[in-house]
């Protein structure tokens, strides 16, 4: 059946329920949050209606600057680690049989769907003194006695790479599945080793995909809020943790909302950038 433009009011019928739901429960909450970011804090309740820029003014503090800087550096590191591991992996995966691919995809999806709480719990067990990986090292004779590897920056980074790795593979997968292999075959026929062919042909061909993926994973990592709390020290807290902390424990909703609005702006700008990069790839 050909698609037709709606002609009568009744044709719009199917749109009513989704439209109302999305507007009432997404657009309105989102706008409320933006509005609250201009309100005054009310220590006794949630907030009092007002128009003030004070909440945004607090961004200028050294503390906020440090948290923001840390969040950005951490997310960049996570994104780079994930893409460095996932890109060759996904490339090799797409060259496997359907069966092997399916099994890996199911496993990746299962890990991806895991609650951050569970990931945090699992890694804190693995890095703990009593049940952790250092017991294995002691058994192998590499260490004298088991030690706790957390809380530490390394633990936070590892946990977040673990969380974002399946996401990275699933973002890269479609692009690598559709990769035209003729160029690669040419390189191989002309005598390139598989590894050289990979770096000289596959990597340049997907340069824009790589950039877009790094940005997507960066935004994904920005959203991590429990792992820094479970695996790190307070100085390893990210913007997401700070927002939660201000909203729930300091009951300073307006400041939390202002930070959230700021996070939205960063994320939207970056997602917009990926769309731009993607468009250039399609055009070329």
């Amino acid at each position: 059946m050909r698609r037709e433009p709606p002609t009568s009011v009744a044709d719009y019928g199917p749109l009513v329920f989704p439209g109302v739901m999305l507007v009432v429960f997404f657009v309105v909450p989102f706008s409320t949050m933006i509005a609250v970011s201009f309100f005054q804090r009310d220590p006794a309740g949630f907030y009092t209606t007002d128009f003030t820029l004070d909440n945004y003014g607090r961004f200028l503090s050294l503390f906020f600057g440090r948290v923001l800087g840390f969040s950005l550096v951490l997310s960049v590191l996570v994104a780079i680690c994930c893409v460095a591991i996932a890109f060759p992996f996904t490339y090799l995966l797409t060259r496997q049989s359907r069966m092997v691919q399916t099994v890996w995809l199911v496993a990746l999806l299962s890990v991806l769907s895991l609650s951050e709480v569970i990931i945090g719990f699992a890694w804190s067990t693995l890095f703990s003194r009593t049940a952790g990986i250092t017991n294995l090292f002691v058994w192998l004779g590499l260490m004298d006695e088991p030690v706790a590897l957390l809380p530490s920056f390394g633990a936070v980074l590892t946990g977040m790479v673990y969380q974002a790795l399946p996401y990275t593979v699933l973002v890269l997968y479609p692009a690598l599945v559709r990769l035209d292999t003729t160029l690669l075959e040419v390189a191989r026929t002309l005598g390139s080793s598989p590894i050289r062919a990979f770096f000289n042909v596959v990597v340049p061909a997907l340069r824009n995909t790589l950039v877009a993926t790094i940005i997507m994973v960066f935004v994904f990592a920005l959203g991590s809020y429990l792992l820094p709390q479970i695996l790190g020290r307070p100085q390893h807290w990210t913007l997401s943790v700070l927002i939660t902390d201000q909203a729930i424990y300091q009951s300073n909703m307006p400041f939390a909302a202002a930070m959230a609005a700021f996070l939205v702006l960063i994320s939207l700008a970056l997602v917009g950038l990926t769309l731009l990069v993607g468009r250039r790839e399609n055009a070329s």
Partner: protein
């Protein structure tokens, strides 16, 4: 072959990285005493029994399942008519709704969570169990929306045309031709939303965290008072459940196709 060996090694390393924490957690969950040791001392399944036997864990499990069942239903109920309309009609401005459906999933989750918190606090329903179901339903609407858009795109339009020529109106068309064709996509969309809702923490915490404990909230709260093997058992239970659901989707559908098109949509 050196190349094959290197490839195997690389796959093994990635697999090990992904599996290691889960293996240790599984080991811990079999401990006989309430110690957190690995390798486990003794072997016992009693911590798995605890999930169902202990009143608090059972309450959290029931709350989580109820939330996931209703949230996934809401997500599908919003996504289905929207995807149908976008497939059936030419209305470029309606893509705004598609964008709205995908947005909560792409933005950092804390934003949706805080938006929902301010909204429910302002409207005075803060803490009601059903507010979490609606919040999750909207938060995860992306998943059924993407799978259903994919499902509609795979329908051969001439089939529907034939039915229309025979005099079927939209309602009959939907019931007899379209729905049976997109059913696998509907089910996988529901399953994706269900599993993710079951595991979701921050939105649930900010909406009903002080009145209801879902399993992830319960685990996190318990974490502050020290570790118990029950937490390990619950974690393994969740991993197994997710693997089962995605395994079923792979068994009865084409998960490669589903994922190949999913990211290009998003």
């Amino acid at each position: 072959m050196r190349g094959t060996f290197l490839r195997r090694l690389y796959f093994f390393a990635v697999g090990l990285f992904l599996a290691l924490p889960l293996v240790v957690v599984a080991g811990v969950s079999f401990n006989e005493k309430q110690d957190l040791t690995f390798p486990p001392i003794g072997f016992s399944l009693s911590w798995y029994g605890q999930i169902f036997a202990d009143a608090e864990w059972r309450r959290a499990l029931i709350a989580s399942v109820l939330l996931a069942v209703s949230a996934a239903a809401i997500a599908v109920a919003v996504a289905l008519p929207l995807a149908w309309f976008l497939w059936r009609r030419i209305a470029p401005w309606a893509n705004v709704f598609q964008l709205l459906g995908v947005a909560p999933f792409i933005l950092p989750p804390v934003i949706t969570a805080l938006g929902m918190l301010t909204f429910w606090a302002t409207s005075g329903f803060y803490g009601q169990p059903w507010t979490a179901a609606i919040s999750h339903g909207i938060f995860f609407v992306t998943l059924p929306l993407v799978t259903l858009s994919l499902g509609f795109a795979s329908i051969d339009r001439s089939l529907v045309e034939a039915a229309a020529t025979m005099g079927a109106d939209d309602r009959t068309l939907l019931k007899t031709v379209v729905l049976p064709l997109i059913l696998p996509y509907l089910v996988s969309g529901y399953a994706f939303a269900f599993v993710l809702s079951l595991n979701e923490y921050i939105v649930a915490y900010m909406t009903v965290g002080f009145t209801t404990e879902t399993l992830p909230i319960k685990i996190f709260n318990a974490l502050r008072y020290g570790y118990t093997p029950t937490m390990a058992a619950v974690s393994i239970f969740f991993v197994a459940l997710a693997a089962l659901v995605f395994g079923l989707i792979a068994r009865f559908g084409d998960i490669r196709k589903l994922l190949g098109a999913m990211a290009s949509e998003g």
